[in-house]
């Protein structure tokens, strides 16, 4: 196992930033911690790096307990959001800094920095100062500084946040390629669920210091454990409607939606009582537009993106729903349409937000 956290906790005074988090990150995988600001994802990363002391639990890297080990001895390297390059040193000196501190032979330093520079296409910039480079190049230097240390685990703390949208997409691809090339375990923190979906083998969704769900991106997308994960993963976000279970036939339940005569059906084996108040979640691409019967909505705004369009609609009771359409280019602004969904794509959540399967 690359990294194993067992019941890890972190408190700052009376504030509990991380509570009883356990997870396993396989060797060589690309794990992403994702969640809203203040959810504890960066704290967790910094605990793995050794920059924050764990208040409880155990952290192991390659089956070695590193909970009380100094950061430099954990065989991890970290890439920071603001790069944290040493501005008075050249790119070469930045990348060689840790090797020189460790008093590695000059030949080895040159070889390792050279190899990292080749991977990151930084060879012609080695004598430049960070201030002479663009944001993307600086980020590559920061990654290069991590590579030369040949760590067991790479840690990335929102490394693309300071880059513009186009460069971010480019760097995302470069990181994916780099991961394939190096085959090392990488842990990446972001609040951007698109970054998480595109980069990760495993996503760990966090909220208020708790791990909400872990798994491959598409499992989290298709089969979320709770309302938070369902709402956080996916863009545009999942639509939620307050509903009540009105009937059951085998594993299929009928749900009436507040403010609408049209019932939805869902696949659900959970034995919740008839009459229970629940919430249903349907992704924008799973809502079908048709004529009655269906949930009547008025199209407020239609965003046409060419290959796909997003309809921002409103029910009679004022509830907003986003619908994704593919292919059709009919202008529907201001019109009344009816929405329906395949029962297998209607997810049901109980009052506490837990998924009912």
């Amino acid at each position: 196992m690359g990294v194993r956290l067992s019941s890890v906790a972190k408190s700052f005074g009376s504030f509990r930033a991380i509570e009883d988090v356990s997870m396993e990150i396989p060797t060589g995988s690309f794990a992403v911690f994702v969640g809203p600001s203040g959810c504890g994802k960066s704290t967790l990363l910094r605990m793995i790096a050794g920059l924050e002391e764990a208040s409880g639990g155990q952290i192991a890297i390659d089956e070695r307990d590193v909970t009380a080990v100094e950061p430099a001895d954990r065989q991890v390297a970290m890439v920071f959001q603001n790069y944290a390059l040493y501005p008075h040193l050249t790119v070469f000196e930045n990348m060689a800094f840790s090797l020189r501190l460790a008093r590695r032979p000059k030949d080895e330093v040159n070889a390792r920095v050279g190899a990292a520079a080749r991977i990151l296409q930084l060879e012609e910039h080695l004598q430049k100062k960070p201030s002479q480079m663009s944001g993307g190049q600086r980020q590559r230097v920061a990654i290069g500084r991590a590579i030369v240390r040949q760590p067991k685990v790479f840690l990335f703390d929102e490394p693309l946040s300071n880059l513009d949208a186009e460069l971010r997409v480019q760097m995302r691809l470069e990181l994916t390629r780099l991961h394939r090339q190096l085959g090392a375990t990488m842990i990446y923190v972001t609040h951007d669920q698109v970054e998480a979906m595109t980069l990760a083998d495993h996503i760990f969704v966090m909220k208020n210091g708790h791990l909400q769900q872990a798994g491959p991106p598409l499992v989290l997308y298709d089969d979320p454990d709770n309302r938070f994960v369902a709402g956080f993963i996916g863009s545009p976000a999942m639509n939620f409607l307050a509903a009540r279970i009105t009937a059951r036939a085998g594993s299929r339940v009928t749900l009436s939606v507040e403010g609408s005569d049209h019932p939805f059906e869902a696949e659900m084996a959970d034995a919740s009582a008839i009459g229970s108040a629940v919430e249903i979640g349907i992704r924008p691409e799973h809502l079908r537009i048709g004529s009655a019967p269906g949930l009547a909505v008025t199209v407020d705004v239609a965003e046409e993106l060419g290959d796909v369009s997003y309809l921002y609609t409103r029910t009679a009771s004022g509830k907003e729903l986003v619908v994704q359409r593919q292919g059709s280019r009919d202008r529907l602004d201001g019109t009344l349409v009816h929405l329906s969904a395949d029962p297998k794509h209607v997810l049901v959540f109980n009052g506490e937000g837990r998924r009912l399967r």
Partner: protein, 289 residues
């Protein structure tokens, strides 16, 4: 060309008449203040190149003589070179020690969490508010008890208290992003590596500026060296000037020659490091940093 002509709004607007008058008045006032400031220096120079007989009653503003005899007398008949040596020695040592001690103190206060850290910083701030003169008697007794009267150590030790240097360094270290420190920690560096290989090189300008201000301050210091030194061999230049009267009687040309020689290093340092000195004064007076 036609494009430029078609965009007259891009041209700098001409200054209005009241604005030009205001600028002219300010320029005249600045020039007048500069003349007032430089006049004593000029008068010292003019007097020092006259003969002593030609000094008394001579009110001519222009140099009417060019003699270096006063300088020759000052160098040959006083212990000026010894005083120079003492001044350079004590000023260099104080500057190096003040910077070294202050940088370590400021780094600890800024970057290391330890019990009583806040209280210690409070003490540093409080010491900033205590006038040096109030400490003189205590310091003199202490130096006497330590048998340090008439020694370099006696001149140097009390001048090592420099809270302003600590405060300026602490403000600088506080402004360095914490990731910089963490990057060094992950690279395997300790506190001394962080301080001397990363933090200080981030901005040598601050260290240079503080070094200049400290050096000039110690070079010009009169009160404490005057108290702690009675032996002519241990005097610094500002104290030594008081001995010139004893050596020559009332001999203004020679007195002014010694004063010019005393001020020379500071004048040269100022000319070379003009921009840095201005920065240093702004930093240490809290305008910037």
């Amino acid at each position: 060309m036609s494009q430029i002509q078609s965009q007259p709004q891009l041209r700098r607007p001409a200054k209005s008449l009241p604005r030009r008058i205001e600028n002219a008045v300010l320029s005249v006032l600045t020039l007048a203040a500069a003349l007032v400031w430089i006049f004593p220096l000029y008068w010292t120079l003019v007097t020092s190149i006259r003969s002593d007989e030609n000094v008394a009653g001579n009110t001519s503003l222009l140099p009417d003589e060019f003699r270096l005899q006063a300088y020759v007398d000052a160098i040959l008949n006083t212990r000026l070179l010894t005083w120079y040596f003492n001044s350079v020695g004590t000023a260099v040592i104080v500057t190096v020690l003040v910077l070294f001690i202050s940088v370590l103190c400021a780094y600890a206060l800024s970057q290391i969490r330890f019990p009583g850290g806040g209280l210690l910083y409070g003490v540093v701030l409080a010491s900033f508010m205590v006038p040096a003169q109030t400490l003189v008697v205590t310091q003199f007794i202490l130096m006497k008890d330590l048998n340090l009267i008439n020694t370099w150590a006696g001149i140097i030790l009390p001048q090592l208290i420099a809270p302003v240097v600590i405060i300026v360094y602490k403000q600088f270290f506080d402004s360095v992003p914490k990731e910089m420190r963490e990057a060094v920690v992950l690279d395997g560096g300790g506190e001394f590596t962080i301080l001397f290989r990363v933090f200080l090189p981030l901005n040598w300008g601050i260290t240079t500026a503080l070094a200049i201000v400290t050096f000039i301050g110690v070079w010009n210091a009169f009160f404490w060296p005057f108290l702690v030194v009675t032996s002519e061999n241990m005097m610094t230049i500002p104290v030594g000037i008081t001995q010139v009267n004893d050596a020559f009687g009332v001999a203004y040309a020679r007195l002014m020659a010694v004063a010019m020689l005393a001020a020379l290093p500071v004048i040269i340092a100022y000319i070379i490091f003009q921009r840095r000195v201005t920065e240093a004064i702004m930093i240490s007076s809290g305008v910037k940093g």
